[in-house]
Amino acid sequence: MAQIFHPSTNTLSRVTIFGALFLIIGLLWLLAQINRSPYVTDVNVVRAQPVPFSHQHHVSGIGIDCRYCHKSVENSSFAGIPSTSTCMNCHAHIWTNSEMLEPVRESFRTGRPLRWTRVHDLPDFVYFNHSIHVQKGVGCVTCHGRVDLMPLMRQAESLQMEWCLACHRAPARFVRPREHVFQMDWVPSIDQQDLGEELVRKYNIRVEQLTDCSICHR
């Protein structure tokens, strides 16, 4: 009886069997990479805004403190988006004819707030509170990156749960003295771990509670 298959089928079947194994592993690896890539997390992706506001210019150029605009960051869950009148404190006097700032002036005239596109958007089942983080010595830069170097606002970190937990499991690696929370270029003068452990004690940060589900998911 004639052979059904050509002799090359032997090689082909061996290659496909072993190849399938690597293909599956490769696909899983690819999925894991995509899941952590800016395609999913939006890290470093600049969003279109009604006005191309530059944190770089306002923070490092002019030297405005974070709390001038984000004024509720120390005592509210929400850091606060400045009202148009906050912008107009200055822009009633400078750049008054700038084309770029027309939406701000229009908002001021009509009383209709600017509709900024939210850059740091957590899922609704996460209860994030700015004030507790500020009170316990988590610097703005730790989560938001060097905004003083960002001409246009973008996410510096993934905001994925593993990223939150990296700090909640070992806060000593990140906390800083309260007085330096709003300082963009702060670096620890001694070893961060030693300083962090001391601050965790000093600020009464109870690490054993920080990974309870209900800390973030209420």
Binding site: I4, F5, T9, S13, R36, Q160, M161, E162, C164
Partner: protein, 459 residues
């Protein structure tokens, strides 16, 4: 289907594992012709068509479930585990007979396993496939089912390894994998036989690819035997472990009616019990329809009936001990749970379960009744129903009256619960119909081996 054949318990028929007068050739012909015949029997089309209709019902029910959510089912507080878990346990249990027959009976060198192991293993696979559907679709968001697996996820957390529900994932997926490998490796020599006998070019190609280049050389047989024995060894603990872990899903919970140390052995016995009942439910019509009475002989049915009786008695012991310890515990909630089972709103189901699982199988004590094929079929069918009722009683009566009377409630399945359940029965049967049409339902080469050993014993 023709009218059922009643076999007379003649001396040879009860003792032989294969009918007289068979040769290597006749065995091969008889089994392979069912697959290789060009014309599909009309009965097959009717059976497959009806099952396929039910598969469509299943798809419809699942699609609606995905669109609307689990609210379409009858589950609610306090009975949050309903049909999905009942059916899961029922199907998983049914699968156990296949593994027992193929692994443990192989290691114990029980020759009578030969003609029933192939389709019992296929039945296992299809039952596990049906079982696997339920835990997936009963998740609130089934599309996140992969969260059950421990993998480096961006949430930075692992599943709760102390939970039996996670052990279940491993138990069931291991079980499915090992069963599939075992079944497939056992099929390889037969696939080669089909490849060599098939006329149609497509059939030759298909069986040829599946046979993986089997030529039947001594080295092939040597490796085959080694692999098969190793897999049998691997599958043996699974017979016990899978349903033990399924029982932990209940026993680990501090719920009266679930929190009981007898659960693991009692679940394993129940699994084998229901599995053998299902094997008989399938084997009896199959041997009649395809005239396989000389391959699946009265000896097989007799032995299976005995296994059914034995495991049924173990299960009966389980019920007895459950009741006894509810009383002996002196715990008011345990005692109330049992009183509620015996006389509460679900009492008719409980008594029906005792009737199906304990009273009816007692007829199997009598050799004359064990030789009555239609009776065996009816008993097996009743045991199947009884085992489903058992799981329903365990899940529902333990939950529906919580510790506080303020959280009492009643449960019943909705039309969607029933549609999903009946749909999986359709899926199971449809897969089985495809299997008997496309693959040899009895192991050809093992039957040839049997012809050889029987012959040498006779001479």
């Amino acid at each position: 289907m023709t009218e059922p054949v009643i076999d007379k318990p003649t001396a040879s028929a009860t003792h032989d594992v294969i009918g007289p007068g068979h040769t290597f050739g006749s065995v091969t012909d008889k089994i392979s012709v069912i697959v290789l015949t060009q014309k599909t029997p009309q009965g097959w089309w009717i059976g497959f068509g009806l099952s396929f209709l039910l598969v469509m019902v299943l798809f419809y029910a699942i699609t609606y479930l995905l669109a609307a959510g689990v609210g379409i089912w009858g589950v609610n507080v306090p009975v949050a585990w309903g049909f999905a878990i009942v059916n899961f346990v029922w199907w998983i249990g049914i699968g156990h007979a296949g593994t027992l027959i193929s692994a443990i009976l192989l290691l114990l060198r029980q020759r009578w396993r030969t003609s029933i192991n192939r389709f019992a293993e296929a039945m296992t696979l299809f039952a596990v496939a049906c079982a696997g559907i339920f835990p997936l679709i009963h998740l609130g968001r089934p599309w996140f089912f992969y969260w059950l697996f421990p993998y480096p996820n961006p949430m930075g957390i692992w599943p709760q390894f102390r939970s039996p529900l996670v052990w279940d994932v491993f138990a069931v997926s291991t079980y499915a994998t090992v069963s599939l490998l075992f079944w497939y490796i056992g099929l390889i020599p037969d696939l080669a036989t089909l490849r060599d006998r098939a006329r149609h070019r497509f059939a030759r190609m298909a069986y040829g690819i599946l046979a993986m280049g089997w030529r039947g050389s001594a080295i092939h047989w040597h490796r085959y035997e080694t692999a098969y024995l190793l897999l049998a060894g691997l599958a043996t603990p699974l017979v016990v472990s899978v349903h033990t872990i399924v029982s932990f899903d209940f026993a680990v919970g501090i719920v009266p009616g679930w929190h009981s140390t007898i659960f693991p052995p009692y679940f394993v016995a129940g699994a084998i019990y229901s599995g053998f009942a299902m094997v008989m439910t399938l084997a009896i019509p199959l041997r009649a329809a395809y005239r396989l009475q000389d391959l699946i002989t009265m000896r097989h049915l007799d032995n299976m009936a005995k296994v059914l009786l034995t495991t049924g008695l173990i299960v009966a012991y389980g019920y007895l001990m459950e009741t006894f310890f509810a009383w002996y515990s002196g715990n008011e909630f345990e005692m109330y749970m049992m009183a509620n089972r015996l006389a509460g709103p679900y009492a008719p189901m409980y008594w029906a379960l005792l009737f199906c699982n304990i009273i009816v199988p007692q007829v199997l004590w009598f050799p004359r009744l064990r030789a009555h094929v239609p009776l065996l079929f009816i008993v097996a069918l009743i045991v199947n129903i009884g085992m489903w009722l058992e799981r329903y009683i365990i899940v529902v009566t333990s939950l529906h009256r919580d510790f506080l009377p303020s959280s009492w409630g009643m449960y019943s399945g909705t039309i969607w619960d029933w549609a999903t359940f009946v749909g999986t029965i359709g899926l199971f049967l449809a897969l089985l119909f495809l299997f008997i049409r496309l693959l040899p339902m009895i192991s050809i080469f093992e039957m040839r081996e049997l012809v050889h050993t029987e012959e040498s014993e006779r001479n």
